[in-house]
Amino acid sequence: MTLGLVGLSAVVILVGLVWIVRAVLRMRTHQGDGSTALLSWACERLPPERADWGRAMCSELACIDRRSDRWRFALGGLRAAATARLVGRLAGRPSATAIICGAFGCTGLTVATFAIYPEVLAERKLPLLLTVLASVLVGYVVLALAQAPVAGAPSGRVRWTSLVSGVVLGVLWIVFATAWWNLHGWPMIAAIVIALLPGAYAARTSGGRAAGIRTVTATGLIAGLVGFVGLTVDAFATAHGPYDASQVDQFTHTGYVNPAAYWMGEGLATAVMMLLFIPVLTILVGSLGAVAGGLRRPARND
């Protein structure tokens, strides 16, 4: 397990180094000093509607003579370009914004778990759990940013479809997993059936399977985040009992001193599993809905 963690860290560091080397080589193609190269590289990545502002910052830098002022301006320009780029990617995309905020929220809840129940840190499987959690959350953010906006969507409706349906599905999965009410498997069945709808709706109204699948992907990610938050909050609420006989029996074989810490760790592990399971199932089922929704309209080139 330690070897796996080291290997994963090595891969992450290697990918980071490759990215840095590529960025430096790209910067070196620009004429001028380091500050010029840095700002030019940053402004190249601005969205088209902000390209003029990038040229404005670069031309302003060309008129600054003092080296320290140039670097200060260039570093500020780098921040401005990164902000403009991120805002441009998220503009009019409430689901992508929700996914990124949700990923940060999940990270915060995990940190809170360790702060309130530090005994969980001694758990043998914790490195694996954290590796999985970190990888999944990074994957969530990358998917959210990488998805192109739904083309030709009616204003507001399809953009908010992922958000609304993701929350509904997430709540259904929470109700199923926590068994607050004795509903047996009905919440799970409802979640699976409802997962067909957002993709079908987006495909019909936006004229294509691709739009439907993008909507379903965002729906699955949002449902996963809602599920994680709900299950972690439920674990916080129930960690101190009351415990049934099977829970007491299970706890006595763990070696934990504090039952609340043990059940909090179990709850966190379940929440991480749902972070993987919910989007996978939602996307699989929802893609069927997207295909079906796309079949109802004449074929269009996506």
């Binding site: 902000r50 404005a56 910052m57 031309s59 570093l75 500020g76 320009g77 921040r79 902000t83």
Partner: protein, 102 residues
């Protein structure tokens, strides 16, 4: 009805600086130096004001030889009206903390 948020302190500083000389075109670095803010703070504000139609931006036509033309900024008539409205609206009182209320 949505409540309009009051602009940030840095935005207010920029609006006041531009409204002080409304007919004069200003450079970006000139505003950075005058206001004491970083370019990373100033340019997002300039972009937002331009998006809202409160600021106009043009490229200079008679720049220094050997250097690229620079961007120039000044407030639009809408921007000047906006500054006037802000000046007429009192700033909200500072929030009371628990210690202050004790």
């Amino acid at each position: 009805m949505a409540t309009a948020r009051r602009p940030s302190v840095q935005t207010m500083m920029l609006l006041d600086a531009l409204a002080d000389r409304p007919d004069q075109w200003r450079y970006g670095y000139e505003l950075v130096s005058q206001l004491g803010v970083s370019s990373g703070s100033l340019y997002p504000i300039l972009m937002r004001l331009a998006d809202r139609g409160l600021l106009e931006a043009v490229w200079e036509t008679d720049g220094r030889p050997g250097r690229p033309p620079r961007h120039l900024y000044r407030l639009t008539p809408s921007g000047l009206d906006f500054v006037g409205q802000l000046a007429a609206t009192p700033a909200p009182p500072p929030r009371r903390t628990r210690l202050q209320g004790a």
